[in-house]
Each structure stands twice: as C-alpha cells, then as structure tokens.
C-alpha cells in the first residue's frame, strides 16, 4: 500500500549512485526484501515506470530478491529458518532453547544496480 513512497526513495537513491558512477543509463535494480515485509514487487515496478519517466533510470527492470526469516538461538547460537505457514514450533531445533532472536527477514535495501 505504501509502495509509492518507497518507490520514490528507490528512485532517488538509484539516481544518486548512477550519477556518482557517471552512468548514461540504469538497466537493472536489485532489491533485497525480507520475507516479513508486505511489499509487492509488481507494484514497485509499476510505480517506478511512472516516476522514472524522463530520467536515466527510465526502463530499468526491478528484481526483488526475498531473504528468508532466520532466527538464532541465544543459548547455542544455532541459526535456523522459519516458515510462517508452519506455525507449530519456533524453539531451537538443535538444543530446544526458547530464547531466539530474529537475524534475517526484515531487510529492505537496494543491493546493486546495473548501469551502462
């Protein structure tokens, strides 16, 4: 729902880096978005096409790479992936510890861009 304001930020960050690197054109943008985010990739592309008209980023293809939800056990430091659909257990599968912390799944950044 907030893809428009997010896309404005993406465009301004991309243009900033494109200029620093003296790009003539931005061809592709790779985003890294955690599984916990509700962001819709198709919407971002749609808004981006609209917002980037007339800039060197016009026509760039956006790819969203999702990063999994990973917890780390505070007892034994074992890391393990969680699927949201499997709602049964989130204790550490190695030692059974219940104290865990989220180490991946909330990412929200621009990983790289391809320019010419």
């Amino acid at each position: 729902m907030h893809e428009l304001s997010v896309t404005e930020s993406i465009l301004s960050i991309v243009l900033k880096h494109a200029q620093t690197n003296k790009a003539e054109k931005v061809l592709a943008i790779n985003l890294k978005v955690g599984e916990l985010s509700e962001l819709v990739g198709d919407c971002i592309q749609h808004y981006f096409d609209y917002l980037s008209k007339g800039t060197i980023a016009e026509g760039a293809v956006i790819d969203v790479e999702r990063s999994p939800i990973i917890f780390q056990c505070k007892e034994c430091e074992h890391s393990f992936e969680i699927s949201l659909k499997d709602s049964k257990d989130f204790a550490c599968p190695r030692c059974g510890g219940a104290k865990v912390s989220l180490i991946s799944g909330r990412e929200f950044y621009i990983k790289d861009i391809t320019i010419s």
Binding site: S5, V6, I10, Y109, I110, D112
Partner: protein, 225 residues
C-alpha cells in the same frame, strides 16, 4: 557502446526516514520527552486506549498526542476534550505516518512542557510497521473481534512492536478467538514482546498497560538525565 557495469549499493531504501527518525529522538532527548507510537487496525481501539491512558496518567505526567488520520479531525477533538494538547495530521490518503510528518507535528508542540507524546498512527496493520516515526517504543493493539490469525497475516507489525495490547477482551466468549494460539503465533515472531490483555470498555487490564508505559517512560527519563 558503453560498458555495462554492476554497482554494489547496499543502501537502505528507507535510510532518509531512518536518519530523520534518529534526529527526532535527539530532539526529544533534549527535552526528556518519551514518545510512543501506537498502531492498530481501524476500529481496534487506538483512540479509546489513548483516552484511557490520558485519564489515568494526566495527573502524574504531562501528555501530548499526535493524531494521524486520512481525512477527519474527530479523534483530535476527543483528545482535546480531555484537556490534552493534540496535533492532527491529515495524510490525505496516505496509509502511514513517517518521520517527516511526525517532525512537523512535534514542531507545533511545546516539548519543554511535555513528558510523554503518544502518536496515534493511521488505522492499518501493514504500512505503519515499515516506517520509523522517531518514537522510543512501538505499541500495537489487536482487538478480539479481528481474530487470532492476524499475526499470520501481518507478521511485520508484530515483529517490530515492544508491546501488544489485546483489546476488547470483554468479547471473548462471543468471538471465535483462541488467546493461546494467538500468543503462540506472536511469540514466534517476537519472543521479547509484552502482551497485555485489556478492555477499554470495562477498564480491565488498563492499569497493567499504564504501568508498562510508566515503567518504560521512567527508564528512559532516568537514562537521559
């Protein structure tokens, strides 16, 4: 033809918002003001919880409220009737409050004469969770009639909050709501979260909530002294 190059960026998409949110926390620190961001669905009980909080805490601390709404000013009017300063932000269709909007609201408030600012975010479980408002703590409400499956549907908001108020517990028995299953789902996403069962209508659990809020505010004020 020009070379094609891959440029590594690794820049947070919301970094501008995050930086402004940090500036807001610096500004609040100067005046020792504690700020709480309250999120929930439309009708979850945000305004009712704020009114209840004002009634039980206004004699012991100076409160201000920032009301976020898409179009109306009805919530701010209710707060002002309690004798509390309120700033209404009308987002004109925007689905969340961000640091820029909060900064504008705070600039309208007399921070040196406040101890606590409560933000009533836009009624929405999706977007507000992504944007740092500059608040010190994030709270959310899940009301019983909304159902116990919400943590499965809107995981992010449950993962970013410090406290969850389960409101309208007077509906338990009428609604098909499994408290145990809901809590298990929430703890799965956020093992550190505090869960408080309450009813803004009957007043049950409100004291527990204001105690949590007071403890957090006191801890903050001790730390910035």
């Amino acid at each position: 033809m020009a070379d094609i190059r891959l440029i590594e960026i690794k820049e947070d998409i919301l970094s501008d918002n995050k930086n402004l949110a940090d500036e807001i926390r610096d500004m609040l620190r100067v005046h020792k003001v504690f700020m709480l961001n309250l999120m929930a669905s439309p009708g979850g009980g945000k305004t009712s919880l704020i009114i209840n909080t004002i009634r039980s805490m206004k004699d012991t601390c100076r409160i201000g409220v920032i009301e976020g709404d898409i179009a109306s000013v009805v919530d701010a009017e209710k707060v002002v009737q309690e004798g509390i300063p309120a700033v209404q932000l009308k987002t004109g269709g925007f689905c969340h409050l961000d640091a820029t909007m909060i900064k504008m609201a705070l600039d309208e408030m007399d921070l040196k004469n406040l101890d606590l600012v409560m933000i009533e975010n836009i009624g929405n479980l999706v977007c507000p969770a992504e944007f740092d408002t500059g608040a010190h703590k994030n709270a959310m409400i899940l009301s019983v009639p909304e159902g116990d499956d919400k943590p499965l549907k809107y995981p992010l908001i449950f993962s970013v909050c410090d406290v969850l108020v389960v409101n309208k517990i007077d509906y338990i028995g009428v609604a098909d709501f499994d408290m145990g299953a809901m809590k298990e789902r929430v703890f799965k996403l956020n093992p550190e979260i505090n869960i408080i069962e309450a009813s803004c209508k009957t007043g049950e659990g409100i004291e527990k909530w204001t105690r949590w809020l007071t403890d957090e505010m006191n801890a903050y004020q001790r730390a910035v002294r």
